[in-house]
Symmetry: C2
Subunit: 301 residues, 2 copies
Amino acid sequence: MFYVIGLGLGDPKDITVKGLEIVKRCERVYLESYTSILTCGQEKLEEFYGRPLIIADRELVEQGADAILAGANQSEIAFLVVGDPFGATTHTDLLLRAKEKGIPSRVIHNASIMNAVGCCGLQLYSFGETVSIPYWTDSWQPDSFFDKVLANADRGSHTLCLLDIRVKEPTLESLTKKIRQYQPPRFMSCSEAADQLLKIVHRRRESGESSCRLSDRSIVVGLARVGHETQVIKACTLREMHQLDLGPPLHSLIIPAPEMHPLEVEYLQQFCDDDLQALVKRALAPPSTIFKLDATLSSNS
Amino acid sequence: MFYVIGLGLGDPKDITVKGLEIVKRCERVYLESYTSILTCGQEKLEEFYGRPLIIADRELVEQGADAILAGANQSEIAFLVVGDPFGATTHTDLLLRAKEKGIPSRVIHNASIMNAVGCCGLQLYSFGETVSIPYWTDSWQPDSFFDKVLANADRGSHTLCLLDIRVKEPTLESLTKKIRQYQPPRFMSCSEAADQLLKIVHRRRESGESSCRLSDRSIVVGLARVGHETQVIKACTLREMHQLDLGPPLHSLIIPAPEMHPLEVEYLQQFCDDDLQALVKRALAPPSTIFKLDATLSSNS
């Protein structure tokens, strides 16, 4: 049997009772480690389970599926995933591979950012399509996700923005060498995401795109380490978010619909230092001038 | 401390290790019982926890928040919710009330249908806004949710349809009496949802709404008892779904985007008795005639 088990979001005890029982009895247990990370780290998981884990990085999962599934017809193999098993396409692919090999599989669900994001008080059924914000480089600065944010906003829907994770990325230099060298892991912060969003808003306004309903005054909600004891939620303007440090990863950013339900505003208020209702009104007012990118915006990306 | 603890979707062992520890030590433990139900039932939960649960129905939660929160400043009170705590507005409201009273609170997340729906292979980030399909009566047959389904489809997004749950609904007759009498609980099945959807499609086509991209040939995905051992997933046409019996509650229905990603089709195929790719192509072809409501459609609603 091949199990794909969701670990939830916070610490080792966020695994379900059913999941823990399976982990304890499996022959091999893999920990997927490149689409997300658990705030607590591998050692604490191993200590809690009382057994070693095999780290499954991108190379192993995408090229070593046979190795992961080996023997799963005779014994039990578990594959642990931060959040819920169906958060990333690669896990769906692993389950398909198991099916092709005639290996029975079972999924143990858990919380993921896709539903735990409700902790800020914005109603889950009012979220539109989720987007991913990728790290920009000097020569690659895609902003097509922004059209989805605008389309959601036009329909009165919130947008959850998943922020880029770069783990075990080969350095450009090492791609041509025999020995792979890796860049240090990077996890996009809400501040970095706000920086890129401000630049997109600025560009679009400069190019005369008057339909853009987002501005530097738009409300955004930053979430850090959701489900963990150190969880932080902050509601503020996009411009203010750029200045905020919400601490260690993982971060997610929500761009709420321009008009929120009163109960949503009431709940969000606890995460806002200012009068949120006033901020919402101000954001809805037509922008008087194109705002200027100021010195606080980094110029290197 | 006031805890709101998600139970997940399947059986008692789907609670997290952290959640179980809290349940075992709390002074009072409530089980919310009107926005969802756990397939296993209250008795199995009580047996697994080794303690009695207080059933929290709609009346208690909406009018008895003070009773639920009583003493939570000195001791620990838990409120159990099927799925994730932020699935329903009323739970957000309870947390707000706790805050008003100065009672510290903590949320223990878990899987909910909003993320576990990924088990059918449709990618979570390709879902648009979620809709709810209400039970129709003779005089009340709202179909505004259908516009959201169409808007999602136009954008290439899937729609998760949450199906109506009617628990402890007073009978019309008893509303004027002193003693409340309740209707038997009802949980909308995928077949019932398909019946209403077919009627909406039919009405709109008859009224000349040519923009309606959905037809009786559109693919839908029915899910029953997600996360439980008896979980059933079926992909078929809307017309076929109306004929299917997916067994006991809870059911959910997905209306996928007219065009799906190849990996999504590949994964969904395992839940389809026909060639799914052919069904998708047939559904995308322009409808030749307005389809006729046949005798298989119930005429009582």
